[in-house]
Each structure stands twice: as C-alpha cells, then as structure tokens.
Symmetry: C2
Subunit: 216 residues, 2 copies
C-alpha cells in the first residue's frame, strides 16, 4: 500500500514526527564531522549530513546550517577563523560522531566530550578528526542566507585532502566505501554500503555498462 500525504497533512503532523519524516525523504545523506577552532583556539566538532558538491574546479563544497541550533558554534568559528575541516564518519566511530549533536556548552570541546581526537596536519589552522579516514581542509568562501526560513549555506574551497591510498582509483575516483565511509538517513539512522556498480558515462546512443574497479 502507498501512503499519500498532501501539504496540509504534512503541516498537521506533530513537530518531531514531521521532522523525522521530512529529514528522511531526501534520500541517503553523508555523515560528516566539521571541525573548527574558536577565537581562543579551543576546538569544536559537530556532525552534519548536508554536505554538497558545489564545483570541481576550483573544488568547492557547501553545507546547510540552522542558525538556531547547537551548530551555531561551527558557523561563528568559521566566520571568525576562516577555516574548517570536513571529516568522513565510519562505522568504528559513528556513535561518537552522533554524540557531537548534543547541546554542549560553548566552552566544552566535543572532541573531549565525545571521545574523538583532534589532529593538526601540514599547518592547516583547524582540527582534523584522527579517527576519520577521509579528511578535507577548507577555506571559507561565502555565506548565503536563505531568506525562506533563515537557514544558511556555507561554502568552502578545498585546500587540503587526505584519503587512504588503497581507495584511490586510476580515474581519480576515491572509493569512499572501501575507505569505510558510512551513509546516513533521516536524523539518526546510519548505514553501511555495498556497491552495486559504477556505470559508464551516459551517452544518448548507448546503454551504460558496469565499470571495472581499477585502483592505483
């Protein structure tokens, strides 16, 4: 049986029920930890599942932030310090990663509170997550205020990138499944993945074929 809800029925749901539903229908999302430093040099860490690709050249990535959430520490720090890190979540530390969404006071580092280790690499001025297998350092580029509901799109440029060598494919693709990265759905559901296939670049006159995985 198929459930059908219209906009009045969605609006009429209880608040938490609506949040759980609407957050789950986007499809699978990434699970990423964003690391920052505040003006006193104290570290902050928060989980996000709205990281998106904005462009490849230059390499731009963005994420959506709610100004009224605990995540405001992240935005404040990025605007003050101009740098942040994006760190992939894996199965070994997804509970610690989830725990960073608790509303800790600003003087508490989620690294300490949640049992994850900050690491500074190649003079990048924001903390990476040691337990993450894929780590990205970004410089802040632009804040876009979404007038509709007060959310904010934060865009950064990739200036450092770390990933496991065994996950690097000949064509440049980084096999994040092989690197242990997990997926998320809704606000709280974490998922391992199992590749069906990579498909060839689509052209109008032929069917896509499955690509062989070729690592460097």
């Amino acid at each position: 049986m198929e459930v059908f809800l219209d906009q009045e029925q969605i609006a009429g749901l209880e608040k938490l029920e609506r949040a759980a539903m609407v957050n789950s229908i986007t499809g699978f999302k990434n699970a990423n930890l964003i690391g920052t430093l505040n003006s006193e040099g104290n570290s902050n860490l928060a989980i996000f599942n709205s990281v998106i690709h904005i462009g490849a050249n230059p390499a731009f990535m963005g994420f959506i932030i709610r100004p009224d959430s605990v995540e405001r520490h992240t935005l404040k720090n990025i605007e003050e310090r101009q740098f942040f890190t994006i760190n992939h979540v894996n199965e070994k530390m997804y509970k610690q990663a989830h725990q960073t969404s608790a509303r800790y006071p600003i003087e508490i580092s989620e690294f300490d509170a949640c049992g994850l280790n900050p690491v500074f690499k190649n003079e990048f001025p924001a903390p990476y997550v040691m337990e993450s297998n894929i780590k990205i350092g970004l410089s802040f580029q632009e804040r876009i205020n979404i007038q509709l509901n007060g959310t904010i799109l934060v865009i950064g440029k990739v200036v450092q990138l770390y990933f496991p060598e065994h996950a690097w494919c000949l064509d440049g693709f980084v096999d994040i499944e092989k690197a242990g990265t997990i997926a998320c759905s809704g606000l709280d559901s974490y998922h391992k993945t199992n590749r069906i296939a990579r498909l060839s670049y689509a052209k109008p006159d032929k069917d896509p074929v499955e690509l062989e995985m070729k690592y460097k």
Copy 2:
C-alpha cells in the same frame, strides 16, 4: 598509506580525474530523478545527487544545478511551470536513472529514451516516476545564484508525498532502505545500504543508545 593533496595538486589534476575525485569526497549522496514538464507539456527527467533538506516546517528541499549542463532543461521547466517532482532511485531501475544524464535533445523525453514511465497523481502538474517507491511533489519557491561559480540552488516546498506504508515508522521516520532507495557516490557509483543502527537523540549527559525499529 595516506595520500595528501594540497590545492595546487588538486588544481593540477587532469579535468576528468579532478571531477571524479572532488565529486566523491563529499561522502554518500542521494540518487533522485527530477521530473518536470516544459511549456508544451512534454516531460523531462534528469538524475541529481545533490538534493538537500532545507527545512521541515514548511517542508523545503533544495538541489544544486549547473547552468551549463544538460540539466538546464530541468531548471527552465521549473521556472516556467513552477512545479517539479523528486523520485528516489532503487536497484531495479538505477541503470535507466543513470541514463537520464545523457545529453538528449530538448524535444526527447528521458522517460521514453531511458525506459521509465511517467505517472500523474492527484492533479499534480508534473510527472512522477512510476518505478520510484518514494515520490515527492514540490512547488518552486526560490532560485539562489551562487556567484562563486555560477551554480544555482533551487528550492521547492513539498506539497505531495508518496511512500510505501510498510516503510513508515511510528515516530514519523520513513525507512528509505526498506523502501529500496539506494545511495550514490561520486558521479557514477551506486550502492545498496545495510542499516547499522538508528541512534537516540543525543544529550550531553548520556551516551546514545540504539533505537528499535518500530513500524506503523
């Protein structure tokens, strides 16, 4: 071994290699088909992997579009007709979904060319994908031009929602894994998922616990 690349090394990669790499490092993404009608009433369908949650009340969803890509038909149609659909991709039709990214001429419907069926439901003025198990109808709300690189964030409001009853949880969560939705990485890699756990709402003073899945 960990690979380290800085921004000069990323910029120095061959174009397709850089695109493959940068598109894969966001983490897992959704795979969604966006359905529209043009001014003559002809249908268009294109795969996107940048759908994001913008808000739950009202229920807003967005996606990123490159103006110079084949996907411009989607943007033109949304601006002209004000309505579009988002349809989850599943394992049974992921090859047809991928094939919609080929550069078909504007007079060709990707539904016909790729072997997917349009369906119109409850007087919504854009085509849903019959083969999708989760279907969302949206009204166009806002176009935000990202000056940095000319990409565009398109935001819609959810006005219709269809999903399988067996995937509906008591707390409102829609179990998209149970509904057959698959994940994507990079530009061309498709993945089934296997839930590790849902975790309880994080609070500073206690560890998260695994939630039991309870369906309606």
